[in-house]
């Protein structure tokens, strides 16, 4: 590493960055963890989940959409910021239908892992308990929208990586929901395939491969083996 790279500070630590890098990506690359849900490092930031909020020079900002700049003073691991992130994750648990103990995605779920990371023990707020459809039309993949946190990762992957635009969003505010790009609204009536990038980017458990429930036992899953922050830093470090 060259020594003349420009730096900003995160909780007092000097963080080197590349031109165009976000505060979040630079922090992860430097080995400092900021939790996030709607971002996939290396891709264009989205800024919608707001879990990666930090304070930059006293201003609250999402670290994924804040370009790193020399001399920035960023706060991240301070109690009021962590409490705010905890609230946002509680909002997500309140909004959807998330039943971890019986969920096929438990242990592989980033929402659950972020919850553990932040010390979320309950949703706290009265659940919205929305009625959301289950799309079982596709031979390879079940779509369970009960768990959807509207991060748009599948929408973006389907459009930008798969070049299929199988998914989109409709409604707004509390009625915002994921739609399948077909007149029938059924996944089977699209060009979707289980090999699509869109099928493997969901941070929760909307995309469930058919015919293989609970193949990996609880306790031996992704975040059971390696906590979220270790996994995220390992991936960002490229090892």
């Amino acid at each position: 590493m060259t020594t003349d790279r420009r730096t900003f500070t995160l909780d007092g630590h000097d963080i080197p960055f590349d031109e165009g890098q976000s505060v979040l990506d630079a922090a992860l690359a430097a080995g400092l963890f900021i939790p996030f849900l709607c971002h996939k490092p290396g891709n264009e930031a989205h800024g919608s989940c707001r879990v990666c909020m930090v304070r930059v020079g006293g201003r609250w900002q999402a670290s994924c959409t804040t370009p790193a700049a020399a001399g920035l003073e960023v706060e991240s691991t301070v109690e009021d910021l962590v409490a705010m992130r905890r609230e946002i994750v509680q909002f997500l648990f309140t909004e959807g239908n998330h039943f971890c103990p019986s969920c096929e995605a438990s242990g592989n779920c980033t929402l659950q892992a972020v919850g553990y990371e932040l010390g979320v023990t309950t949703p706290h707020y009265p659940p919205f308990s929305p009625t959301r459809p289950l799309d079982a039309s596709h031979p390879e993949m079940l779509l369970d929208l009960n768990r959807c946190i509207l991060c748009e990762l599948c929408v973006r992957a389907s459009a930008n990586v798969d070049k299929k635009s199988v998914f989109a969003l409709s409604g707004r505010g509390p009625t915002k929901h994921l739609v399948v790009s077909a007149e029938s609204g059924r996944l089977a009536d699209t060009s979707f395939s289980a090999d699509d990038a869109a099928a493997h980017v969901c941070p929760v458990g909307v995309f469930l491969p058919r015919g293989q429930g609970f193949r990996t036992p609880l306790g031996a899953r992704k975040f059971d083996v390696e906590p979220l922050r270790v996994a995220a830093l390992r991936r960002a470090g490229g090892t």
Binding site: A45, G47, S48, C49, R50, V51, M53, W60, A62, T65, P67, M84, E87, I88, F91, L92, T94, E95, H124, Y125, P126, F128, I149, L150, A159, S165, V166, F167, A168, L169, S170, G171, R172, G173, P174, T175, K176, V179, V180, S181, A182, E183
Partner: protein, 594 residues
């Protein structure tokens, strides 16, 4: 006669950026946007079907479900409610045997609500198939219902029903100065681009949309941005509950608005302008189209506009479609480009990456008017009025519990009490300045002033006297944000609904101390972590209400520390329905509670 989809799409040059316009025309032709039309439209525009479905689903004025041949939407603004709109709506539904939002079995009628339609000074109001009818009372509603019963075509309804009158009560600089079309642009041309930018900066003009950014700085940044072409956008999407001043400015002072847009175009070297008007102001569209045509005919728009060689500029009218968030400038640009109105991430800002990712000036209606006067008469025209940090005048939409609701232009620095005196108000309990996203003032704060560094205002000024239930108003304002949240970011999408529901329980006396703590916490989360101004401000009604009217809250809270969050008895509705029982044994009563 139904216009053919191909004809509509061809008229819009198969341009997917014109999707919102296309969907308006489709709705006009078919009454809604049928699912097979969405598929066909997507294919004609070469965009994913989900994109079109998503845009239809985003805007309140579009639907992919059939609606009544007469679609009645009662304006659900703060002042509409104060004027009894809910009772009128219920009367209409009962009269036609309708439950909730459903369409009548014969497909003839649906009755719903829509966010404030901007007739706050002449409400309650409703829209029938997008056409505004104000001044509703029992008799007028009776006329409307009789016409619907007789299945009279809308074109045959008495024109008087649809009359919207301008209501300007006090004129100052902007509304009292006469200006000959073209004069301000010619003056700018004589001064030159650089000096015009400098003059606007010197005038201290700040954006009248509420944020108060320096107009001179905005224009200069756009002029310096390297990419071509540049654009000028007039934000006439005023959707703040309680505001209606742009309605009258567009009706009576449109030439000054267009003049200001042309001055901006000259100063930043833009070739194209958009005037984005909320669809609720449908009654203004023909007037605007005529004014644009007249300016073209007079050589004030088009090639060598205003006689300036090499300066080509034209303005296009664009319609919103029922989305308050599109008043946020980057969401407005998304809408102009035919997408869901989701505010963009910033940086980059619209001045460098605006419409079509090109440098764009976006200003409020009133800002352009002031800029035109500065171009003609120089910076002092604003500097001589108002305060040091807020030069010029502010145009306010005064409504609610006042004797003379209407549009008032007053110099910045005017006290709230002075505005109340102008409009005639007594027994004031509170004043909501700049709508629910703005400032809630108590009767102890009436000496405060309308200015950027005291009480800023985008236009609304709504008065509540001491007979009003402030908690119901705060609940209503909270519900407005839940309805209008774009849903992009978590804190606003979830937080606005949490606040609205909790405020509902507080206002109806079903909440405890713990709920007050919760609702304040949620409001603070939104205020710190939201993606755009809507979410950042959505907690204002609750937070300011608790801060300034704590005893009103406390008096409505139950003595318990905590209460169930749901109504035990109401949750049995379905069981009672299914079993056909409604006897006392099928109800929980207060005494049953432990």
């Amino acid at each position: 006669m139904t216009e053919d989809l191909a004809t509509i799409v061809a008229r819009h040059r198969h341009d997917p950026r014109r999707l919102v316009e296309i969907l308006h025309d489709v709705t006009e032709a078919y009454g809604f946007v049928p699912k097979d039309i969405i598929t066909e439209l997507a294919s004609m525009l070469a965009v994913p079907r989900g994109h079109v479905e998503g845009v239809v689903g985003f805007y309140a004025f579009f639907s992919d479900e059939p609606r009544g041949a007469y679609r009645v939407l009662f304006s659900d603004g703060t002042t509409d409610r104060m004027g009894g709109s809910i009772a009128l709506l219920e009367r209409m539904r009962a009269s036609f045997g309708l439950q909730g939002e459903e369409t009548s079995r014969d497909g003839r009628l649906s009755v719903g609500t829509t966010s404030c339609t901007g007739l706050c000074d002449q409400g309650p109001a409703l829209l029938v198939n997008g056409h505004a009818i104000g001044g509703l009372d029992s008799a007028r509603l009776g006329d409307v219902m009789a016409l619907i019963r007789a299945e009279a075509p809308l074109a045959a309804w008495p024109r008087e029903l649809f009359a919207v009158r301008s209501n300007i009560r006090r004129r100052d600089l902007l509304l009292a100065t006469a200006i000959r079309p073209g004069d301000a642009v010619s003056a700018a041309a004589r001064r030159g681009r650089a000096d015009t930018l400098a003059e606007v900066a010197r005038s201290g003009l700040r954006g009248r949309g509420g944020a108060g950014f320096s107009t001179g700085a905005k224009w200069a940044a756009c002029a310096e941005a390297p990419h071509e072409p540049r654009y000028v956008v007039c934000n006439a999407d005023e959707g703040e509950p309680g505001t209606f001043k742009d309605r009258d400015l567009l009706a009576d002072h449109l030439d000054l608005v267009l003049e200001g847009m042309t001055v901006a175009a000259f100063a930043v070297s833009a070739r194209h302008g958009f005037l984005y008007v909320r669809a609720e102001y449908r009654f203004l569209f023909a007037h605007i189209a005529n004014a644009l045509a007249a300016r073209r005919a007079a050589g004030l728009l088009g090639p060598n506009a205003c006689g300036i060689r090499g300066f080509s500029f034209d303005i296009e009218l664009r319609r919103g479609a029922g989305a308050y968030v599109c008043g946020e400038e980057s969401a407005l640009l998304e809408s102009l480009e035919g997408r869901r109105g989701i505010p963009r991430n910033r940086p980059p800002f619209p001045v460098t990456h605006g419409y079509d990712q090109r440098p764009t000036v976006v200003n409020n209606v009133e800002t352009f008017m002031a800029a035109a006067l500065v171009a003609r008469d120089g910076a002092s025209v604003l500097r001589d009025l108002g305060t040091r940090t807020s030069s010029g005048t502010k145009i306010l939409s005064v409504a609610g519990d006042v004797e003379r609701p209407g549009v008032y232009e007053l110099p910045f620095g005017v006290t709230v009490q002075r505005v109340l005196d102008e409009a005639g108000a007594s027994r004031v309990q509170a004043v909501q300045v700049s709508g629910p996203a703005g400032t809630l003032l108590s009767a102890r704060e009436l000496d405060r002033t309308i200015a950027f560094d005291d009480v800023p205002s985008a236009g609304a000024f709504t008065v509540f006297d001491d007979r009003r239930d402030l908690l119901a108003i705060i609940e209503h304002h909270s519900r407005f944000f839940a309805h209008e949240s774009c849903g992009f970011c978590t804190p606003c999408r979830v937080g606005t609904t949490l606040v609205a529901r909790t405020m509902g329980r507080i206002a109806s006396g079903h909440a405890a101390r713990r709920d007050l703590v919760d609702v304040a916490r949620v409001a603070r989360v939104m205020a710190k972590t939201s993606h755009c101004g809507l979410g950042l401000m959505a907690g204002n009604p609750v937070l300011q209400g608790i801060e300034k009217f704590r005893p009103v809250f406390d008096a409505r809270l139950r003595p318990d520390d905590a209460l169930p969050t749901f109504d035990l008895d109401a949750s049995l509705d379905k069981s009672r329905d299914v079993t056909g029982r409604d006897d006392s044994e099928a109800h929980f009563t207060e005494e049953v509670r432990p």
